[in-house]
Symmetry: C2
Subunit: 113 residues, 2 copies
């Protein structure tokens, strides 16, 4: 099973490309943490069927990421934005013009990502 943060991020980016039924069951298993047994009963499918559906959804979401790499780009960009936040704090603690240059440079780098 993928780490929940990674899985949540893939779902956040590409979940709308799943069918409504896939989304419902996926959310119940992955985010609401209902038991496979409960969902199986509710959906009229086997526990194995629920398990397989979630696995299939994971593969679909990963397939989109392999092609589009949007989560990867988003993570890279967020890391840089977090660095900007950190540098503004550092500047307030100890103002040095070089920090401003770094902020400007990081912002430029984000634009060129």
């Amino acid at each position: 099973m993928k780490a929940i943060g990674e899985q949540a991020m893939l779902y956040d980016f590409y979940g709308e490309l799943l069918t409504p039924r896939q989304r419902q069951i996926y959310e119940e298993v992955v985010f609401e943490d209902l038991s496979l047994g409960e969902i199986a009963g509710e959906q009229g499918i086997s526990r194995q069927g629920v398990h397989d559906l979630v696995k299939r959804c994971d593969r679909i979401l990963e397939g989109y990421e392999e092609k589009l790499k949007l989560v990867e780009k988003f993570k890279a960009s967020r890391k840089m934005v977090e660095e900007i936040v950190r540098l503004t704090e550092q500047f307030k603690a100890s103002p040095q013009m070089s920090l401003i240059d770094r902020i400007g440079q990081i912002a430029q780098d984000i634009i060129s990502l």
Copy 2:
């Protein structure tokens, strides 16, 4: 026909979800600006066929954006990053601590997008 910038951005985000053949023809029409006649001859389809393929690709790309809104989010985020670049320049011209606060705030806002 969509504005080229918008079309290019949709293609940049979602183009990998088209088939290789769709991508080839789409790029030739939209980015390399080859004539429909040339491409039609090369692909052994009618000019109308080329035209329809491009239109269909546009609809596919727009369909992904309607569901995922990733271009929309990207544009909002880029605008804010550009504002950070502008504020660092402004700070260098006339250092005011309030500019640093705004940079930090904008960076936080990007993270919460």
